[in-house]
Assembly symmetry: C2
Homo-oligomer: 261 residues x 2
């Protein structure tokens, strides 16, 4: 999934077609893949020695982490902003998705610092286990359903901590029209992209109960240099770009909370 | 001029008010400035030992570097795309303005590879000595005037090799209207910012002869992390972002050349 040529393999998932033989597979870097292709083109064949130490460990109990600001008018209805807490183990998971977690906390912190009293209850949710089966997101939606917690909107940041360029969206036509009506408020901050569909992996399971889903759309050019690799480290995150994303999220939460969706 | 707190001073110019005493001045980093303020706040005074080895060297002869594609319909009229060749000596000058130079070359190379035959003559100009007096830009305009070379438009990239977001512009109302009419062609590529005024330092001297001036507007968030510092090195430039800027410039040159301005 790399967008550049380098020596860093991108980790990821493997699925088998049940009708086909199960051939062992590992991720290799783009440079290695190109080298391998060249050798095969030239020699017609290639002999490779490859050693891998991956293993599947047993499940252990882990948790979503949730912070909340209570609503003043509709405390039993929720607006959620979130990212996911887990990451692939090769790097720090700085852009995927440490950025989304701290931005979600920051989006609410900004509103708190402004002494804003939300109409709805606002939650910052750090979803657990997105990468390996979306289990935090699924469990969150299940619990919301069980507890009859109505979620009017959810916003996820899971595309990296780069300069924000807009929000993706999945919902009704009326909701889309409302989002578009906010364009004059968002465009001056470079938030032009208000396209569909959208949302995020962790908040996806909320859709079945009618929650409007939003995803932060940051500048996308560097994400797949880092995503799921040893290069996704803290030093790759620019503080100012990260903060702009959090501010954009805070602005959208404010609009949804104050004007409804 | 830093946008972040770090230990790297940003070089730059110093001008004196003739009516005031000439106090020696040096650039220090934002972290050092904050430390100094803290010490003075606490102690009321500060004693500093500071050693600097800067010197003004005598002028030497240097040159603008120019590449050209000949126009098929109006070979004596010019569209210029450029950056500047010199940089502050503390770093590589990778974003300021190595990026602008290679993008200017690339903008014309793209058109050549597409076998595009320009109506006007197209020039990629690497201006010399922007940082220390704009002498390459001034001389270029002087020579253009002397040789009666009509320059209908000039585009400069001197804001870093980041993801392009649009073009700044200085020209007539009719030209601005024309640029705006191209928005539907530019917006799908994230080029939304088509504001005024604009251009660039090197192409500024062309304005007096009526040349329409355009400046590439890349994402601005990281430029002043690097600008004029030891951190403005090659590794800070993302190849993909750099190429997108060059492609945007190529697209604008194509529009100006084929539709006029």
């Amino acid at each position: 999934m790399a967008s550049n040529n380098d020596d860093i393999p991108h980790t990821g998932s493997l699925r088998y077609d049940e009708d086909q033989p199960k051939i062992p597979a590992v991720a290799i870097s783009t440079n290695d893949a190109n080298l391998l292709s060249e050798v095969i083109d030239k020699e017609g064949t290639a002999k490779i020695y490859l050693e891998t130490h991956c293993e599947m460990l047993p499940d252990i109990l882990s948790y979503n982490v949730i912070g909340e600001m209570n609503g003043t008018e509709r405390p039993d209805e929720y607006i959620v902003v979130g990212g996911h807490l887990d990451s692939w183990d090769v790097g720090h998971g700085a852009h995927d998705d440490g950025s989304g977690c701290v931005q979600s906390i920051e989006a609410l912190r900004i509103l708190q610092e402004l002494d804003y009293k939300p109409r709805y209850s606002l939650r910052a949710v750090m979803f657990m286990n997105e990468e390996n089966g979306l289990r935090g997101g699924r469990e969150y939606a299940l619990q919301a359903d069980k507890k009859n917690e109505k979620h009017i909107a959810a916003l996820e940041s899971d595309s990296g901590g780069f300069t924000p360029r807009g929000f993706s969206f999945t919902g009704t036509d009326a909701q889309r029209k409302k989002l578009r009506s906010w364009a004059p408020l968002l465009n001056p901050y470079g938030l032009h992209d208000l396209g569909s569909p959208g949302g995020g992996a962790d908040i996806g399971p909320l859709r079945s109960s009618g929650t409007a889903l939003f995803g932060l759309r940051p500048d996308s050019q560097r994400y797949f240099n880092y995503h799921h690799t040893a290069a996704d480290t803290f030093d790759k995150v620019d503080k100012r770009e990260l903060e702009l994303g959090a501010a954009a999220m805070s602005a959208l939460i404010y609009l949804i909370d104050s004007k409804g969706i």
